[in-house]
């Protein structure tokens, strides 16, 4: 059985400029212990997708249609109370900016203990003790001293470790990480990625990783889903995606990424801008930017079709 199953999810924002289709018919599946990376440009709906799994779609957004089955239960119809009992205990989240996702007036120990107090009815003293243990687990040196410090007294990398400790506090089965390393230095990024890898094994976690950085996803995910304009355009096992990307957008993204192994001279960016999600083009959503566009592409939006083993592509002429 899959741990998380998203079926035809539609999340729209009902703003003043009209309806923004941030997530428009996304279907995904995540097996226990496996990890999925969502790749996409800013504004393609990947963060909204992550937040809807937790039932935290911000105003004026709404889940319009679809299902999010988590351990067999549909998140979409759940009451606030039910959602709260799952959040932080069965599933948790690691945010992009460690500094701003920690409460500046609480010590880090207090914040890590928060989830334990909320879900496990642990007495405060015990929760604080456990928080120090967690800090040791995520590799914070002098955890005992650091525990009583405030977030601003820690470095960015240490802060992100605290955020990860918070996410792991109640032994969740899935962690959603939205750009977990984007705000960090490159060296610290590598450390945090390493930590997430270790934690994944140690806690038998499923990871739902969101990033615009291909390198981060390759490092951590078994499967990669590429999102464009609210839809998945390609999804498949990581090694396959790297070797033979089938969607023109995916191959364009690969060409715009720096790798150490390939000496190619100039990088080629993906020309143009992603479409406005409030007024999408007719036909294929990538058509205006596609180097391989044909007349058919401007009329119909292709469906996500099977391309290889566990490999799906949304393109009329995938190759």
């Amino acid at each position: 059985m899959s741990l998380l199953e998203i079926a035809d999810l539609k999340v729209y924002y009902f703003g003043r400029e009209g309806i923004v289709r941030a997530v428009d018919g996304v279907s995904l599946e995540l097996k226990p212990g496996s990890s999925l990376g969502v790749l996409g440009e800013s504004g393609c709906g990947k963060s909204t997708l992550g937040l809807s799994i937790l039932g935290l779609v911000p105003d004026p957004g709404k889940i319009v249609d679809g299902k999010i089955l988590f351990e067999g239960n549909d998140i979409v119809g759940m009451s606030g109370e039910e959602l709260r009992s799952i959040r932080g205990s069965r599933m948790s989240m690691v945010f992009q900016q460690p500094m701003t996702s920690l409460n500046p007036v609480l010590t880090v120990q207090d914040q890590i203990a928060e989830a334990l107090i909320a879900h496990k009815d642990m007495p405060k003293a015990e929760a604080l003790q456990h928080a120090v243990e967690l800090m040791k687990t995520v590799g914070i040196p002098d955890a005992g001293d650091k525990a009583r410090q405030y977030p601003h007294q820690l470095s960015g990398g240490m802060q992100q470790r605290v955020v990860i400790a918070m996410a792991l506090a109640c032994n969740p089965s899935i962690v959603i990480a939205d750009e977990p390393t984007s705000a960090l230095d490159v060296t610290v990024q590598a450390q945090i990625l390493g930590l997430m890898k270790t934690m994944r094994k140690e806690y038998n976690l499923s990871l739902f990783l969101i990033s615009h950085n291909l390198g981060v996803l390759v490092e951590l995910s078994d499967e990669i889903a590429v999102m464009y304009a609210g839809q998945i355009v390609e999804i498949g096992p990581t090694h396959l995606m790297l070797k033979q990307p089938a969607h023109p957008y995916t191959s364009a993204l690969m060409r715009s990424t720096i790798t150490l192994s390939s000496v190619r001279g100039r990088l080629s960016p993906v020309e143009g801008m992603p479409p406005n999600l409030a007024c999408l083009p007719e036909g294929c959503r990538f058509y205006p930017r596609c180097s391989d566009a044909r007349p058919l592409c401007s009329q119909n939006n292709p469906a996500l079709e099977i391309f290889g083993e566990r490999h799906w592509v949304r393109c009329f002429h995938a190759h």
């Binding site: 911000p58 932080g88 500046p104 989830a115 909320a118 601003h152 996410a167």
Partner: protein, 286 residues
Amino acid sequence: MTVLGFLRDRASQSIRLIGHNKVALTGTIIIVGILLMILLADVIAPYDPEKQFTRLVPPCSEYLLGTDRLGRDVTSRLIYGGRASLMVAVVSVTIAMAVGVPIGLISGYFGKTLDNVLMRIMDVIFSLPALLLAITIVAILGPGLLNAAVAVGVSYVPRFARITRGPVMSVKERPYVEAARAIGASSRRIVFKYVLPNASSPIIIQTTLALSSAILAEAAISYLGLGVQPPTPSWGSMLNEAKLYLFIAPWLSISPGIAIVFTVLGLNLLGDGLRDVFDPRLRRRL
């Protein structure tokens, strides 16, 4: 750790932190000095504040701050007068905070229709001049010190509601509030542990400002005969009586004036200092 032990720890930590902050320390010393003076009035006041001697004697060794138009010792009246002034200030601001801060919190955090309704009610109260409103309330409740305090308190409610609502609206959008939701914290916990503490700086400042202006409001209400009833002294009423003798007996205005200025200064310093002390980002490392 017991609740009492926890509170004791917090209290001793706060005292240590205030000791390290010069501004807060100065404010504390001034306020504690004034409080001691008021509490020990019976011991340190040289005369009965209502006993009459020679009229309008300038400051001398016998009457340190002189005597007023009815021959009462100004020093003694100043010491006793602080009781009425500070009582009104503290009671009224406590009422204003107790009502205004929750209204601002609810309004800012939940927003939408509730926010609209609450804020329009606040606007109605705000649109009336605070003093006029307070006088009307005292006129309804009847004159007296406690009624004056209640009246000033009610008229200050919108200030606290407004000053709380703004920062709450901005703080509730911060990522750490979303992070708190993502770990399953309840709304109550989020409001009291995440939103309110991060929105408290302007409330603390507003408190000290309101305390100072409440002292002055008490003066005006007492002047109109709706607050402290003569011959009981208060700084405000002393100042108002002294006004008529500004040229022939200036010492009558100077001493209560200085008392008010010092109290307000002490409160403002304390407020500034407290804000720094309770905000870990502004706190110096010990």
